[in-house]
């Protein structure tokens, strides 16, 4: 069997998590106007300030042009054909424990290999499972409450902690930031809110599983994590989606805020439906993720493993505002078939002696297109700022592409920046070497790819790292005919 065949098989491997759960949805008809924005707010029973916040964002969004600068290609999106709200029926009748959860939903999680019960028992992870747009399961709430940690849906937080929402929501990513962030602010469905009080080390890893499950329903999650002075929190986000015919738009906004000496670790494993062999029906993943190291000596670390979506367009970034603050970005992105990804990070050094690290590993197979786009900006007052960037691309086959666009802006002479970039292929020599030791070609590819990604996987929490490796192997499955 030749390497070309191997790549073809990889490309053809079917999406494993493609199935649909039958749950009645209470869905708004497609279309977007002020009435829809008000309807979303009303259905969620939001206070006036929130409705106004959404409307302001909506009105501004109308004035914004769709962005075209990324190296991705897709037909224009008709925003009037999207339904902007979908919730499981009887949202007022929220379950209080797992027993009350729709068995069909639990079955969905079983198929995904993430049984909630087992997870909470074995891993001690509190799971806030977002199914469609409304949270339907929250566990370990009390242990967190004892520590003073707030971990709930954004909708809940709007009701129960309006002062925190008013203070922090949109303070890192304002609705004016970009087109999709504006849209999200107007119509965001739900998401997660985490608040860690001063000096508290969150007693467990926090985890949310997102799923997009209602036909034609754009998902607009909103995540807000606030870590007060001296606190620490690790947040895990993992996604898979059922197979669908039409493109599904996903435009999430994630905001992280770290005060003095606080640390936020945000890990993502993303496995959304990438579309069929021709790229039809995959998820459009246009996400704005940004962390604000607001306090001195604060630290925000992004780790992402991106294997899904038809189009990925995301740049988890850090604003290093506080002196001596630290920003990190560790990324593995896989594009195969017709997948396109334009991803990277921005490290904005504002404070003195701020440090950032960027490690980006791009894997491209089939006709996958991948772009690393990064910005490191050292401002005039960021004395002693340092950045280390490492961008490695691994190509499998000869029809894929990898591009690197590292932008660097330095306005202080004391800055110290390093940039390393490599592009390599899995060589026939490597494959033959492994096979001559008894490994199949599939195992060899998986092993070499995992080796290539090791630096990033090392940054993931243990159980997530195992999942990520599994996901990578699944993504590159079918290497043997």
């Amino acid at each position: 069997m030749t390497s070309t065949q191997a790549v073809d098989d990889i490309v053809r491997s079917e999406y494993e998590h493609g199935f649909v759960t039958e749950i009645e949805s209470d869905t708004l008809p497609p279309g977007l106007d002020e009435g829809v924005v008000r309807a979303i707010s009303a259905r969620k029973g939001e206070p006036e300030f929130m409705t106004e916040w959404r409307l302001k964002a909506y009105r501004h969004w109308l004035t914004m042009p769709t962005p075209h600068w990324a190296s991705v290609h897709y037909p224009p999106i008709d925003f009037q054909s999207i339904s902007y709200f979908s919730a499981p029926k009887r949202p007022e009748d929220m379950p209080k424990s797992l027993d009350e959860i729709d068995p069909a939903l639990l079955e969905t999680y079983e198929k995904l290999g993430i049984p909630i019960e087992e997870q909470k028992a074995l891993a001690g992870i509190a799971v806030d499972a977002v199914f469609d747009s409304v949270s339907v399961a929250t566990t370990f709430r009390s242990a967190l409450a004892d520590a003073g940690v707030i971990f709930c849906s954004i909708s809940e937080a709007v009701h129960e902690h309006p002062e925190l929402i008013q203070k922090y929501l949109g303070s890192v990513v304002p609705h004016t930031d970009n087109f999709y962030a504006g849209l999200n602010a107007a119509v965001f469905s739900d998401g997660t809110f985490v608040y860690v009080p001063e000096g508290v080390r969150c007693p467990m890893e926090l985890s949310t599983y997102f799923r997009i499950n209602a036909r034609n329903t754009g998902q607009f999650e909103r995540t807000l994590i606030v870590a007060e002075a001296g606190s620490y929190v690790s947040y895990l986000e993992g996604c898979t989606a059922p197979q669908r015919d039409e493109n599904q738009l996903h435009a999430a906004v994630v905001e992280l805020i770290a005060m003095d000496d606080a640390e936020i670790k945000y890990s993502t494993v993303q496995n959304w439906y990438p579309g069929d062999a021709e790229g039809r029906g995959g998820i459009y993943n246009f996400v704005t993720k940004r962390g604000d190291c607001r306090g001195a000596r604060s630290k925000i670390s992004w780790t992402q493993v991106e294997t899904g979506s038809a189009i990925t367009w995301k740049y988890p970034s850090c604003i290093l505002r506080g002196d001596d603050s630290i920003g990190e970005f560790y990324s593995v992105a896989v594009t195969k078939g017709r997948q396109q990804a334009d991803t990277g990070t921005k490290m904005i050094h504002l404070g003195r002696n701020t440090r950032s690290t960027i490690v980006s590993k791009g894997i491209s197979a089939g006709e996958g297109q991948q772009t690393y786009r990064g910005l490191v900006r050292i401002s005039q007052r960021a004395e002693g700022a340092r950045n280390h960037t490492q961008c490695d691309s691994l190509l499998i086959g000869d029809r894929c592409t990898a591009n690197t666009f590292p932008y660097i802006e330095v306005k202080h002479p004391s800055a110290n920046l390093e940039h390393e970039a490599t592009t390599s292929k899995i060589s026939d020599d490597q494959l033959f070497y492994c096979r001559s030791r008894g490994l199949t070609e599939e195992d060899a590819v998986s092993m070499i790819v995992n080796g290539f990604c090791k630096e990033v996987f090392n940054e993931l929490p243990m159980e997530f790292a195992v999942e990520a490796q599994k996901l990578l192997s699944i993504s590159l499955e079918g290497a043997v005919g």
Partner: protein, 252 residues
């Protein structure tokens, strides 16, 4: 016979490199294949182990009664064939121990044996290190990545010790080694000699054969074995070079 090669002809692109090669290797025997540059030594090693890029146009290779040429490289490894590479390949980020465990378990699995768990595997590794008088410094590193020439070759021998092949092909294992490294490698090979294990030692120089004593020595030239003899043939080659055999061959 463990290995029986009959009338083997192989091309690389348009060029015929092997032109009717015959070789018989019995169990427990060590055969040295010597020859000038370009005689087809590496091609022969690669064809035996199933590397792509070679077209076999005639002849047969039988390994313990099986048609070796019909098998994929990994299937040959599962049968007990091992190639020690002239240029071992680097696998950045792939931990050496992890690699060895995966390789060993894939071979065990193919034989219907149970996979070794981490504890039994580490015990086995320690045992093999002891036999070869090696320390474990190479095990924590990525496969061959940043290894010196000597370290790479030692790692090959270590893999061989662990995978316990029935037939090992050592492709110019001595190239690029200084005398100390050569001795370490040769000692390792000698420690692995057994009545069940055959070896084909491919080398350009007689030097390696001072340490690894062969049962048979073959001269490969222009794609064929043109002379076979005992270990004294190697000494004769060392003394006289290859020229005289080639001349005799041409005369005949």
């Amino acid at each position: 016979m463990m290995l029986s090669v009959k009338g083997l002809r192989a091309n690389v692109g348009e060029n015929e490199i092997l032109k009717g090669l015959d070789l018989e290797v019995g169990p427990g025997e060590i055969h040295a294949i010597m020859g000038p540059n370009g005689s087809g030594k590496s091609t022969f090693s690669h064809v035996l182990s199933g590397r792509e890029g070679y077209e076999v146009t005639a002849g047969s290779v039988t390994f313990e009664g099986q048609d070796l040429l019909a098998l994929e490289p990994e299937e040959r490894a599962h049968l007990g064939l091992f190639l020690a590479f002239q240029y071992p390949v680097e696998l950045p980020g792939v931990n050496n121990t992890y690699f060895l465990k995966a390789a060993l378990n894939s071979i065990r699995k193919s034989r219907g044996e149970s996979e070794l768990d981490a504890v039994s595997f580490l015990r086995l590794i320690k045992e093999k290190l002891k036999i070869l008088h090696l320390n474990d410094s190479l095990l924590k590193r990525a496969v061959n990545a940043g290894f010196s020439g000597g370290e790479k070759k030692r790692n090959e021998i270590f893999q061989m010790a662990l995978l316990e092949p029935k037939l090992a092909i050592l492709d110019e294992t001595d190239s690029g080694l200084d005398i100390d490294a050569l001795r370490v490698v040769a000692d390792g090979v000698n420690a692995l000699r057994s009545p069940e294990r055959s070896m084909i030692v491919v080398t350009h120089y007689q030097r390696l054969l001072d340490y690894i004593e062969p049962d048979r020595v073959h001269v490969l030239a222009k794609g064929r074995i043109i002379r076979s003899g005992g270990k004294e043939l190697a000494l004769e080659l060392e003394e006289k070079g290859y020229g005289w055999i080639l001349e005799q061959e041409q005369a005949a």
